[in-house]
């Protein structure tokens, strides 16, 4: 089981994040579930670029020259910044909705229906 523990962690985080987005009634909890889903995808991107026995791809005082792949780490940096932007905008939407309706329960904000 410990041979591929990162892949099991990615699967667990994906299921937890997806079930929080689909099953919860509070808008703040839905936002946190989306954040957990983003973290799971970032972990998957980094795990895909691992080479056995390699070190970080930096040449300053490096003990060896066999390094892991550096491109997935660069893609993950961009993904983290986009996750920050998404969470900031979602939380500010939630604050404005609370100020107008008085509640953050999804079942009571259905003004488009009637």
């Amino acid at each position: 089981m410990f041979a591929n523990l990162p892949y099991l962690a990615v699967a667990t985080l994906t299921v937890i994040g997806l079930s929080t987005v689909l099953l919860k009634r509070n808008l703040v909890k839905v936002t946190m579930g989306l954040n957990i889903l983003t973290s799971a995808v970032n972990l998957l991107i980094i795990v895909l670029g691992y080479r056995e026995g390699g070190i970080a791809p930096i040449y300053t005082l490096a003990p060896q020259t066999y390094m892991v792949l550096p491109t997935p780490q660069a893609l993950c940096l961009t993904s983290i910044v986009i996750g920050v932007a998404t969470t900031a905008l979602l939380l500010s939407f939630t604050m404005v909705i609370y100020r107008k309706y008085g509640t953050v329960n999804v079942d009571e904000i259905r003004e488009l229906r009637e």
Binding site: M1, N4, V15, L23, M67, I82, A88
Partner: protein, 94 residues
Amino acid sequence: MKRNLTILLLIVFAGILLVLAAGFTYGTPLASDMDDYFIRFGQAQIAANNIVTTIVFDYRGFDTLGESTVLFTAVIGVSLMFRRFFGGEDDADE
């Protein structure tokens, strides 16, 4: 009814994902030609020690331009929501 169906589908999805995740082994990427080129020639062409920074700012600098624009747009979006309460904006017409 709908909630129970959602829970059942989520349990099936979790089972599929866990079975798939237990079948992978990690430590040997399939294709690493591009990254071998970056590691071999990054120091000679760009004269930097940190290979990840050369990829983020030089070999793929256009993606970083797009990412900076996304961060800028997010800050503008947040500032549009709370324009009334921040004070000092003399030209906020409702």
